[in-house]
Symmetry: C2
């Protein structure tokens, strides 16, 4: 079903003592069982008691390893972000270095196939926020931005390589306040691309996830679209044109 070793579990610096090794293993087991429950029943139905039962232990025992339900959610969140990030990295790295269009498509398809494969995890990351749960930014920001960082990287590399159509139609003016936001992003991420490219990149980003969310969340209706692969592929082609990525 799912891979045995969750990527998000922090390994202690010196897990020398058998106690610490056992403890690390138990936490890994809890995360693995939690991921299975998440996949089957969804995030809102994630129950520490059920995880404890599967672990063959009384419910209060898991509180030795996981502070509370929110903490387990955070572990699963980080785990899922890293799974997605690994999938995306692998797919993009498999493409030729200067074929930016192929890299873009590979990224989007990797996100989509992971989302379809793990709808509950996708819902946890990109669906409605879990009520009463606030992700701790200091732990989730880095894994949570891997995909967008990679996507922006592709667009910016394409721009630097002169692979972007400058004359995307139609030209749209960027208002001043939006330009300020984009300038801040450009500075923070060391980008070269101009405002119009960055803004269109943001649109492509939201559009890709919008299309995937519609599919995973069942917004298309039961049998409106049978050719979902072709639909997504077509959407990527159009979005490619939006940023001026020639392929």
């Amino acid at each position: 079903m799912t891979s045995a070793e969750p990527a998000a579990v922090k390994v202690r610096e010196k897990p020398s003592t058998p106690r610490e090794r056992a403890r690390t293993q138990t936490i890994a087991d809890i995360v693995r069982l939690g991921r299975e429950h998440l996949a089957v029943h969804g995030a809102a139905a994630l129950s520490l008691r059920a995880v404890a039962r599967d672990l063959g232990v009384v419910s209060s025992a898991v509180y030795r390893y996981v502070e509370n339900r929110d903490e387990l959610l955070t572990l699963l969140l980080i785990d899922a972000y890293n799974q997605l990030g690994d999938d995306v990295d692998e797919a993009v790295n498999a493409e030729v270095e200067d074929d930016f269009a192929a890299q873009f498509r590979a990224l989007a398809k990797a996100v989509r196939s992971w989302a379809v494969r793990e709808p509950a995890s996708y819902s946890l990351l990109f669906g409605s926020p879990v009520p009463g749960y606030q992700a701790p930014g200091e732990r989730t920001t880095v894994p949570g931005t891997r995909v967008i960082v990679r996507l922006v990287g592709i667009f910016d590399a394409a721009y630097r390589a002169g692979a972007l159509n400058a004359s995307v139609s139609p030209a749209v003016v960027i208002p001043e306040k939006l330009a300020a936001d984009l300038a801040a992003i450009r500075g923070e991420m060391n980008l070269a691309a101009p405002d119009s490219t960055l803004a269109r990149g943001v649109l492509v980003w939201t559009s890709v996830f919008g299309a995937i969310s519609f599919e995973v969340f069942g917004q298309y209706g039961r049998d409106t679209f049978a050719a979902r692969d072709e639909l997504f592929d077509h959407q990527l082609s159009v979005l490619q044109g939006v940023v001026g990525l020639q392929g």
Copy 2:
């Protein structure tokens, strides 16, 4: 806070007897209280017992009026769909009849402002599916498709009026299987627009909701974009170009 009369509550054909009038009123009260709880605590935390408390009644009493929690969710779902549909209709109807670009922008902005105003309801409709809850299609399909029907209507009317740029760049071929899906839609909805327009319309549809979802679900990060109105406006402008809507 919220309007007093929920649009979704079906009025009996003959609410003549005082019993039935009282019953209808009680159900309306339950939906109203449910909507308030939804707005404050979210869908997953919607509790019949809490609604009963606010109604000043013991928990088992509400089961006289609402079959179970899922039934209340369905009522809230229909209620929210109709609120959104009403908002969208009003906004679109306020535009000049042959200004299709303005109608498109009015529709998208109406959806966004409703979503920002009612994030919990938006999450219920367009976020992660509530685990274990399956919306009864025969009751939710009609209100649930009001927005997309309206959007497609705008695009098709624009096409019939010759207001769509035929030469959207770049031309993208529509694979056969996707064309079959689009043909089915064209037949069902009595449309005139060609495949490429319909396919791009679907992309615009998903993109608009993708952008709104990112904003409502906090995917942009806390302070990445301060100029959210301008960002959305820009995205609409680009998407307008995607379907060839000149404005």
